[in-house]
Symmetry: C2
Subunit: 346 residues, 2 copies
Amino acid sequence: MKRKVTLKQIAKELDVSISTVSKALRNSKEISEDTRQKVQAFAKLYNYRPNNIALSLKNRKTKTIGIIIPEIVHHFFSKVIRGIELVANKRGYNVIVGLSNESFDKEVINMEMLANGSIDGFILSISKETLQQQDYHHFTETINQGMPIVMFDRVVDAINCDKVIVDDLEGAKKAVSKLISSGCENIGIITTRDYVSVGKLRTQGYLEALEEHKMNPKASLILKVVDQLLSEDHLDLLEKEVESLFKRNKNLDGIFAVNELYALTAMKVARKMHLRIPEDIQIIGFTDGVLSKHAVPSLTTVSQHGQKIGEKAAELLINNLEREDEEDIYETVIIETELIERESTK
Amino acid sequence: MKRKVTLKQIAKELDVSISTVSKALRNSKEISEDTRQKVQAFAKLYNYRPNNIALSLKNRKTKTIGIIIPEIVHHFFSKVIRGIELVANKRGYNVIVGLSNESFDKEVINMEMLANGSIDGFILSISKETLQQQDYHHFTETINQGMPIVMFDRVVDAINCDKVIVDDLEGAKKAVSKLISSGCENIGIITTRDYVSVGKLRTQGYLEALEEHKMNPKASLILKVVDQLLSEDHLDLLEKEVESLFKRNKNLDGIFAVNELYALTAMKVARKMHLRIPEDIQIIGFTDGVLSKHAVPSLTTVSQHGQKIGEKAAELLINNLEREDEEDIYETVIIETELIERESTK
DNA sequence: TTTCAACACGAAAACGTTTGCGCTAATGTT
DNA sequence: AACATTAGCGCAAACGTTTTCGTGTTGAAA
C-alpha cells in the first residue's frame, strides 16, 4: 500500500527543494529543462496529484458547492441536483449535499457544518419547518460572512440573494386555463396550506385564471390539505379528504392538483366514484415526475424543469464566486413552466 | 460583511499567542481560568468556528465520504443516499456526491477529483459502462493508496473490498415462487443483458425457482431487453419487445420483471391485450419504487430496502476508517429482500 | 580581470489548526 | 536562603501547497 506521494517526497527523492518540484510541475521557466523533465517523469511515475485540501487552505477556496434540500427521495429535487452537478462539474466544482429532512434544526446544523470552510457557497431550498417558523437568521449570517447563497423553488423575500424559481403562478394559470378551455366549469383545486410559498402561489394562479374567465371561485372547491398528508404514510387520510371534496361538489368536472401525489389520489378517487377520465372529469397535476408519465391514464402536468433550475442555480452561484468585483447585485431567475398534455385532459 | 474569525485574529485582539487561544478554547488546563474565560467569551461573541479545511489538512482526514452513483434521478439510488447521509451525519461525516452517468470516463474522473484529499473513503455503485469494459484499475489504485471503498448493489468479485448487496437471486426466487404458488404455469421474465450483474442474478433466481418446482424453462419466455431501452426515451421500443413476448406465448399467465419500468410496461401491454390483472395474468416487479406503489392496480414487488443498504454501507465504511488496527478484513453484507404483495398478484 | 545579467535553484512565508516542549516567574519545600 | 516544583504561557513544527524573494553560479561583455 503506497500512500499518496507529496511534493516533499519527490523533492527528497530527487534531491532538490520542494519549491523546485512545484515549479517544475507547473512548467515555470525558472527551472531548467533538465530538472523539469526529471521531476515530471518522476511525478508521472508515482502518479502525483496535488492535495486538494492543501490547495483549498492555501487558496482559501474549496471549489465545492454545498446543497441543502429538504428531501432527496423526490423526483424534483434529484433532478435539480443533477442539474447542479452537471454545470458544477463542467466548471471544476464538486457538490456536497446535506438533507434538512424538512427540519429547521437539521437545516441549521447542516449549514454550520459546511459553512466552516468546507464549501464556497450554498444552493438550497428551504425546509417547511423553517418556512413555518420564519426564522432565517442562519441564512443572513451565512451571507454576512461572505458566503453566497442561491435559493431555489422554496424561497423567501426577506433574504437578499440570488434566486431561481418556477413561475408557479403562471404555471397554475396555464393549467387551469387549459381546463377551462377544455370545457370544465366546476374546477376544484387540491393544494397545501399557505405557508408553503409554492402552494400559495399556485392557489393564487388558480384564482386568477378563474377570474380572467369570469368564473366565480367557490370555497367548497378549494381543498387545502393538512400538512402531514404529504408524507407518503398517510395516503388513506389524503384519500378521505379528496373524497369529501368530490362528494360536496357533485358537478365537479376538473381538478387542478398542486403536486403529483394529490393528482394521483384525485384520479384514484375519481375512478372509485365511477367518473371517467378525461370524459367526466379532467385532471392536471404539477411537477415533472415519473408518476405522471406512467400513470394510467397518463397525467397532464405542469413541468417545472427541475434540471434546468439546478443548472441555472449553479451558474448563478459560480458566477458570483468567480466575479472579481464584489458587487452584490442579486438576480431572481424565473424558469418557465411547461404544460405537458397527456391523457388526463381532453 | 465580517469575514470568518480565526485563531490568529482572536490572539491578536486579546494580545496572547495563537496556541493560548487554541488551548483555551479546548479547555486545556495549561491555561488559567482567567484567560480561558476571556478567550471563550470573545470566541463566542465573534462566533468562532474552527476551519474545517485546516483541520482536515492537519489531521489528514476530512470526515467526508464520497459517493459515486450512476444516476441520481432514480428512486433506488436516492434512497441509498438518504441512508448513507443518515448514518454519516450521525457520526459526524459529510457526503459529497459524484454522478458517473453510467459512463466509465466520468466515473474515473469523478473518483480522481475526490481521491486527492477531498474525502476519506468511497461508497459507490459501478456504472454500466465500467461493467461492460471490465476495467477496474481505478478501484484497485484507489484501494492501494489506502482509501477504502464500499461497493453496493452493482459490485464485482475482482475487487477486494466491503460490499453491500441485495440478495437478488433469492429475491427473484421469492417472486417467481409466489407466482407459481398463485397458480401461474407459464411465467415470462423481462430482464436485462447478462453483464449487468443484478440482471444476471435475477434471471438465475427465476430459473432456479422454476427448477425447484419442476417446471421447465422455455427460451421463448425469456426476454432480455437490449440496453438502451432502460433510458426513459425508448418506451415505445420497449413496449414492442414486451408485446412480442406476449404474442409468442399466448398462454402467458405470469410475468417477473427485473425492474419497475419493465413491470409497468408489462402491465400496459397486458391491458392492451385485454388481459385482466391479476385474474388472467399476474405481475411482479423488482425495486422499491414509487411507481409500483401508485400504479393501478398497484404492483407486487420485491423491495430492496435501498435506505438500509445505504445505512449499512456507511457503517462499514466509517467502521473501517475509524478502526485502529489496519487489518483489512472485508465483509460482504447481504440485505434481505422483501416481497411486498399488492394488487397485481392473487 | 572586473562587472553584470541571466539562469537555476532554495528559503521562507502563508493558509488555520493542534500540540509537545521549553521558558519564566511564582510558589512551595527543606 | 537555596532549591525544586508548578502554573501559565509562547515557540515552533507539522499537515501540503504556491509564490515571492534572495542567492550563488555561470557566462558573456567591457
